[in-house]
């Protein structure tokens, strides 16, 4: 009986890990869409007729979502790369950067995230963040 709470926790961990693994498949599908959408937004900044603040805001939001989500599916480095793009977009917004300047400012962070997504899409699916850890461990981030 003394082990009942631990058994229950392990059972819950198992259920959650299974659910996260299932959601991870959908997350990978979404990654491909996000890469395309972010690439389109970023490429548009190089054009002449783009609303730079609106485009930067969309890039910031999309990167922010990946930043908050990726590590939970085992993609910690991708999450960090998304965080860098989010920050770069926010800083360009706050600086009032025009489209060309924003395009240049985001180049490194965008390329970094695109690379991480490419790696994630070709690599075997990682285990969700809770699957390989004991209960109570902190989230895995680098």
């Amino acid at each position: 009986m003394a082990d009942a709470p631990q058994d229950d926790r392990q059972r819950r961990t198992g259920i959650l890990a299974g659910q996260l693994a299932a959601l991870g498949g959908a997350f990978r599908t979404r990654l491909a869409r996000d890469r395309e959408a972010l690439g389109g937004e970023y490429a548009a900044l190089a054009g002449a007729d783009v609303d730079a603040p609106a485009s930067l805001k969309r890039i910031e939001l999309a990167a922010h979502k990946l930043h908050g989500t990726a590590a939970m599916f085992g993609y910690a480095e991708l999450g960090e790369a998304a965080g860098r793009l989010e920050r770069a977009a926010r800083e360009a917004l706050q600086a009032g950067a025009g489209a060309q300047a924003a395009h240049a400012a985001l180049a490194r962070a965008h390329a970094g995230l695109a690379t991480e997504i490419d790696v994630a899409l070709v690599a075997p699916p990682p285990e969700p963040s809770i699957a390989s850890r004991g209960p109570g461990s902190p989230p895995q981030t680098k």
């Binding site: 926790r9 939970m72 461990s137």
Partner: protein, 128 residues
């Protein structure tokens, strides 16, 4: 101390909504509802008052802070504690959330297995 029985989680990310519903609902003691926007959260909260609201910060249209302001302006919802769940955890951002009246902040990415514990700690701090 008043027991935490119901939580409303608001996030435009369907993956995160599903994870949170699973993580908070697994021990069977909490009624968990989720909403995809600030506007739908206000309607859901008015329909059935939650004990606690967990709110994403960056959402299209009505973002987290704007949603919190709407909650505070609505007499029925004004006293419902709101906790931000966000990747925005710079000190200046945390100060801003506190000034807006947030009862706490949970960082993204969070550990799903610890989420319920984090929520209960915040609840105890509010009502302790």
């Amino acid at each position: 101390m008043r027991q935490l029985r119901s939580v409303l989680y608001v996030d435009d990310e369907p993956d995160i909504r599903e994870i949170v519903a699973l993580a908070l609902g697994l021990d069977g003691t909490l009624a968990v509802r989720t909403c995809e926007s600030g506007v739908s959260a206000i309607a859901a909260a008015l329909e059935r008052l939650p004990d606690l609201v967990l709110l994403d910060v960056m959402m299209p249209d009505l973002d987290g802070p704007a949603t919190l302001a709407r909650f505070r302006a609505e007499p029925t919802l004004a006293s419902v504690p709101v906790v931000f769940v966000t990747a925005k955890t710079m000190p200046s951002e945390l100060q801003r959330f506190g000034a807006l009246g947030a009862a706490g902040v949970i960082s993204k990415p969070f550990d799903p297995m610890r989420l319920l514990e984090q929520v209960r700690i915040i609840w105890e701090r509010i009502h302790g």
